[in-house]
């Protein structure tokens, strides 16, 4: 049925602003102020979606975030979004939406065949079948299940929109701007406190947008208006509309999602689509209200079935009439307001009240209005596939366990249900708040809470408006006081006309009917989205899934996109009944963030593209870019990897760069190395304790290479130590290790050896460093410095201060390439000038810039390790053949004790060796494993684990092919004219000359174990 169900007047919509939209391709009109849901209802559209498992036709149940059925695919193309609740989409012009999980259409859906199979598709049916053949599961059953599952579709294009974050602090955060929240915010704001008030709706007012009441003699809308305008007048108050607080975390940290613009307005950094607020509040007041519950009875899901509060909202707030002939089923007084309102709009209303008796005044009033009330009655069925057609009703029997007599059917086009209200305690539970069930209010209530967290109004199962306003005011004042503000005079309580605080709820969950749910053809839905019925819960209990968490997982209750806001309580009440426990004993499952789903893009915020993670660059970076460098990511740094010219491959470029280093002169931007200034009279002692070798004996002006270990004895970092002055050292670290080494040193200094007079200062970016390396390095440097560069005077492993290219500089004679090298450091902002001076001065010598790849080749030719490449946190200095750097004299240093543990002194540990492929033209892949015998990977048998007898299977070995170690570095060497590698081999240091094999897929590479120093073993070249 379609057609206008728009009421002639009323509602908070702007009838002067019509908006066009389409649903499932058909055009409709709504108004500014509508949601998609209210506009559809106003157009008489009820059939909106299909359910997950049985593909049952479904309509709108609610008017809010608890909606389980009314999900749509919103918009198209790159801006499409699946599973958006129609109840939460403010209507905009040009909106396009369609049903999810339907094929070909929501009216005629092939998946509905599942409904016929439903006797087999009980809770957990898939655990019981499909497993005789894994192949059948893999190839047939699982693909079908996967395809059938899921609702909407992911976009197929990247998201064009922009998202944002905001971090704020406040004295008081009020969640929910209904009567309680508004009142709390007002009371606190009056003290001058910083208050943030957020509500998920586009408009403040909460339940007062639906309930028309007089507060202190004025219409409630006026009361809302005056409070909002008062709040707007405070500088220290922030009002957030369309902002859902999705999570409450430790120490009153809240996360809220603000929807800034609708889905058609293009976003930009200047106008983000959504904003995630991070709020740190001294005090939090939860005024999140309550959720109405449906009732469980046969076919309680026919489109046209709706909560009483939702129906009232559609009429009062949106001017849309959900139906003309509703049957209202209730266990409380509150739903009568909906019945009354329907009647006022000319609808023909019948009320089915499950309670034994109806309060007299209500009964009289209904009779007067011409509304038939069937007390002590129950619903036994609902007819109508795509829309409610009739409701079967019967009187309950004497003890309320079943029905008396036969059902009779009432013609209807809508079914309005109310099972009472549950406090919206979700946020309260996010930080571990515990609940207790209140039998009188028939709701869970916040019990033991947290400091500086209060619940008011519906959140505290306080359902009256006056109580909400007064309670809110008191809580607001108290919170402001706790945050250090002086509260003003407490106002007197408000007077609210017709404020039915008590709905006289009589607990009702699964309504009595003629047939047990599992024997009925009808479905008794508990969780609409997942099609969990009362029969499924009964089955779960029968099979032993009788704890609430097991029931939930076995039946999927509460796993839908509404996260159980609607159905959970019914599910656990039915579970309680079936297991003979109280609801309190049964307990709830844990509510977890987010309260409502949050877009991934919003969570990522502006962490997109290059802003995802900082890119660190040196002062020389622009030169590298301008000269065509390819870059390597090293931690956050962009480091030149190699500089291809004229279309060179990497191999060609690196060979050229290497050749230049060995024959002429090269330059490397080494600014990224970590640098730490160590000052104090105990600096030497301190360094002795953190390095394996002795540093306190270093002479002023000298440099020493050092290794740092962790306490477990494994190599952690390496670098140089320079004694700048008696009490001042400069330590360098690896590029990637800079931050962690600095923290490691501070840890020991502050907590283990606070008595030492040492100060550490990170100076990584104080110094830009250019390494000039190659036989012509001295000639180059002579052109731009007056320093005495005579190697007899300026010796290897020493440093000088002076001027280079007119820039104050520190020049270090250290070499990672094996060639004559000068590491020249200048103040960071001189880096570019120094580099350009070096490039200019070196022009005649054929100066060649080189990147990390060439640096790696050159150092490997010299057998120098790279921490993180040769090492992986499992190697001691001895394993690396660097026993020479472990002081025998020092009593202690970090990690020393671990070097004498039984495992660290084993002789067959993996040790660093040089490796020469027998085929000198073949560069073995790095990471290749090494074995004793020639074998190809494709011939390795599948692993067969040892069995119950515990006997190893591959002879006496555990692995099909026992591994000795692996290739850590492997390159083509221009200098050697052949390939070479470094690797780790068990007991390798004693195996020089042996052949080991690197098995590849269809070949195996024989390699000879050699000394790891391949080039200039004597070290003759370092002086040029």
């Amino acid at each position: 049925m379609t057609g206008s169900m728009r009421l002639p007047g009323g509602g908070r919509i702007d009838r002067s602003r019509p908006l066009k939209f389409t649903f499932n391709g058909k055009g409709y009109t709504g108004y500014e102020g509508d949601t998609l849901a209210s506009a559809l209802i106003a157009n008489g559209v009820h059939l909106i979606a299909r359910s997950m498992k049985y593909h049952r036709p479904r309509g709108l149940m609610t008017a809010g975030s608890d909606e389980p059925n009314g999900m749509v695919q919103l918009a198209t193309g790159a801006r499409t979004e699946p599973n958006i609740k129609a109840t939460q989409i403010p209507l905009y012009d040009g909106l396009e939406a369609s049903s999810v999980n339907v094929f070909p259409s929501v009216e005629t859906d092939i998946g509905a065949v599942n409904g016929l199979l439903s006797p087999f598709m009980t809770a957990g049916f898939y655990y019981k079948t499909f497993m005789p053949s894994q192949l059948f599961w893999d190839k047939v059953a699982e693909p079908i299940i996967r395809k059938a599952a899921g609702f909407g579709k992911a976009p197929t294009e990247p998201d064009p929109d922009v998202y944002d974050h905001k971090h704020v602090h406040c004295d008081l955060m009020v969640v929910g701007a209904g009567p309680a929240g508004l009142s709390a915010a007002r009371a606190a704001a009056a003290t001058g406190a910083r208050v943030i008030l957020a509500d998920e709706q586009a408009e403040f007012g909460g339940s007062l947008l639906t309930l028309h009441r007089e507060i202190d003699g004025k219409p409630s809308a006026e009361w809302v208006g005056s409070v909002v305008s008062e709040l707007s007048g405070h500088d220290e108050v922030t009002l957030l509309r369309r902002t859902t607080v999705t999570g409450l975390y430790d120490q009153n940290y809240l996360v809220a999602l603000e929807q800034k613009i609708d889905d058609l307005t293009p976003s930009s950094p200047a106008n983000p689509r959504m904003r995630v607020w991070h709020i740190r509040a001294k005090e939090v007041i939860l005024a999140t209200g309550s959720h109405e519950r449906p009732l469980v009875f046969a076919d309680n899901d026919r489109p046209g079935t709706m909560l009483a509060s939702a129906a009232l909202t559609y009429m009062n707030r949106y001017g849309a009439l959900p139906c003309n002939k509703p049957v209202v089923v209730t266990n409380n007084d509150w739903a009568y307001e909906t019945a009354r309102t329907f009647k006022a709009h000319g609808a023909e209303v019948t009320v089915v009240d499950t309670r034994k008796t109806v309060p007299e005044d209500l009964g009289t009033e209904m009779a007067h209005l011409g509304i038939e009330v069937l007390a002590d009655s129950t619903v036994t069925g609902v007819s109508g596939k795509h829309r409610v057609k009739g409701v079967s009703v019967a009187a309950k029997n004497a003890d309320g366990s079943g029905i008396a007599g036969v059902s009779h059917s009432i013609d209807a086009d809508g079914l309005i249900v109310s099972g009472g209200y549950s406090a919206a305690v979700h946020l309260f539970c996010h930080v571990g708040g515990k609940l207790s069930f209140d039998d009188a209010r028939v709701s869970f209530m916040p019990a033991t809470g947290r400091k500086a967290l209060a619940c008011v109004g519906g959140t505290a199962a306080e359902f009256g408006i006056a109580a909400a306003i007064d309670g809110g005011a008191a809580a607001g004042a108290k919170a402001a006081q706790a945050a250090g503000f002086k509260p003003g005079r407490a106002g007197k309580g408000v007077q609210v006309a017709d404020d039915r605080a008590d709905g006289n709820v009589e607990a009702a969950w699964l309504l009595p009917s003629g047939t047990a749910p599992n024997r009925s053809k009808a479905k008794f839905f508990v969780d609409y989205q997942n099609d969990t019925g009362a029969a499924d819960i009964a089955l779960a209990v029968r099979e032993g899934f009788d704890s609430v968490e097991h029931m939930k997982r076995y039946t999927l209750t509460g796993f839908g996109t509404d996260q159980g806001k609607l159905g959970n309580i019914n599910g656990l009440a039915i579970l309680a009944e079936l297991t003979g426990r109280t609801i309190q004993e049964t307990g709830t499952t844990t509510f977890r963030p987010p309260y409502t789903p949050v877009t991934f893009g919003a969570l990522a915020g502006r962490d997109a593209g290059d802003m995802l993670d900082p890119i660190r660059v040196t002062n020389i970076h622009d030169w590298h870019v301008a000269h065509g460098a390819e870059f390597e990511n090293v931690g956050q740094w962009k480091r030149p990897w190699y500089y291809p010219i004229d279309g060179e491959t990497m191999h060609q470029a690196v060979a050229r760069e290497c050749r230049a280093a060995r024959t002429a002169v090269t330059a490397l931007d080494a600014s990224t190395l970590g640098k730490i200034d160590v000052t104090g009279k105990d600096a030497g002692v301190f360094l002795d304790r953190v390095y394996t070798n002795m540093m306190s004996t270093l002479k002023v002006g000298s440099v020493r290479y050092g290794l740092m270990l962790h306490e477990d004895g494994m190599v952690y970092d390496d670098g140089t130590v320079t004694r700048l002055a008696e009490n001042r050292f400069l330590v360098t670290t690896t590029t990637g290790g800079a931050a962690s080494v600095f923290q490691h040193l501070e840890d020991y200094l502050q907590t283990e050896w606070p008595d030492l007079d040492v100060y550490l200062t990170s100076v990584t970016e104080q110094w830009a460093t250019v390494t000039v390396s190659g036989p012509k390095a001295r000639m180059l440097l002579e052109r731009i410095t007056d320093m005495n560069l005579d190697p007899a005077d300026f010796q290897f492993m020493t440093f000088r201060e002076g001027k280079v290219a007119g820039l104050p500089a520190r020049v270090f004679r250290i070499s990672f390439t094996g060639e004559l090298s000068y590491e020249i450091s200048v103040v960071w902002h001189h880096g570019k000038a120094l580099w350009e001076a070096v490039m200019d001065a070196g022009h005649d010598f054929g100066i060649t810039p080189y990147g990390t790849e060439t640096m790696h080749v050159l150092r490997a030719e010299k057998g120098f390790i790279i921490v993180g490449q040769e090492t992986d946190g499992t190697l001691t200095p001895y394993d690396l053949g660097m026993g020479w750097i472990v002081s025998k004299k020092k009593e202690d240093f970090i990690g020393k004790r671990s070097l004498t543990r039984p495992d660290t002194v084993r002789e067959d540990r993996k040790q660093l060796v040089g490796l020469l492929p027998e085929d000198p033209g073949f560069v073995v892949p790095e990471g290749a494993q090494l074995v004793n015998n020639s074998v190809k990977l494709k011939d390795v048998p599948h692993f067969a684990p040892p069995g119950l007898d515990g006997a190893p299977i591959y002879g006496r070995k555990a692995s099909p092919v026992p591994m000795l170690g692996h290739v850590t570095s492997s390159y083509w060497s221009d200098a050697l004219g052949r390939s070479f590698a470094l690797g780790l081999v068990k007991g390798g240091q004693a195996r020089t000359g042996d052949i080991v094999y690197a098995p590849l897929d269809d070949r195996t590479i024989a390699m000879r174990i050699v000394d790891p120093v391949f080039y200039d073993k004597e070290g003759a070249r370092r002086d040029g």
Binding site: H165, R783, D786, L807, H829, A833
Partner: protein
């Protein structure tokens, strides 16, 4: 002030052959290239004084200072060199004329002063501290100083900075070390009218921070 050099364009360099030392000396000052120099024109374009403006304060002298503030000898030595003693109160700034000392930790400060290419201030400090357990380390190159100002400056920072920047809790004369845009920095409030902040950012991170700030400012300046 150095010449702006755009990427790809090599600044006038050194002729082949040996240049005289003196010639080189005079050039050194001109050849300083601050971390944000290459994007300075973009910073200007992204700024709107009515809302938010951003600019680098290049070559601001920065000296890391370590010592024991409870020792009079240390405090006096610092005062004699800088004009003001290091503040003892956490997260505060001591100012004297153009010089300021930022509290970074219980035994750590940052001395901030105008451009001082000869390093005179550092030399004075080192001399004054010669007999005290202390450290003074030149950090002028270590961080870029970025100034963010304007009525929306605080809102710009709130997009990424988790510190409470309300004037009541973060008034002029406060400094904190914190994180924004995944980057550690020191944030100093220097003025209320208009609200002005200084961000001391590691030089290698400065461009990243600048990009982040320009993007964050767009909401207020409308300049995307």
């Amino acid at each position: 002030m150095a010449k702006p050099a755009s990427p790809g364009k090599v600044a006038p360099g050194f002729p082949p052959g040996r240049a005289s030392t003196k010639e080189l000396d005079t050039r050194a000052m001109d050849l300083r290239f601050s971390p944000l120099e290459a994007v300075s024109h973009r910073l200007v374009a992204a700024s709107a004084a009515d809302h938010a403006s951003v600019a680098e304060l290049p070559f601001t002298t920065q000296i890391g200072l370590r010592g024991d503030a409870s020792k009079a000898a240390f405090a006096n030595a610092v005062k004699s060199a800088v004009g003001v003693a290091p503040p003892k109160e956490a997260c505060t700034v001591a100012v004297k004329g153009d010089n300021r000392i930022l509290w970074l930790g219980p035994d750590e400060w940052l001395v901030v002063a105008p451009d001082d290419p000869d390093g005179a201030l550092l030399a004075r400090l080192e001399k004054a501290l010669a007999k005290v357990s202390a450290a003074a380390v030149d950090l002028t190159g270590n961080r870029s100083v970025i100034e963010l100002s304007g009525p929306s400056a605080r809102a710009v920072l709130e997009k990424g900075c988790r510190h409470d920047l309300h004037p009541k809790t973060f008034p002029v004369g406060r400094v904190v070390g914190t994180l924004m845009a995944h980057t550690q920095f020191f944030l100093e409030k220097t003025s209320d009218n208009p609200e002005t902040f200084r961000l001391y950012v590691r030089s290698s991170f400065a461009r990243h921070m600048a990009e982040w700030l320009m993007d964050a400012m767009a909401e207020f300046t409308g300049r995307v």
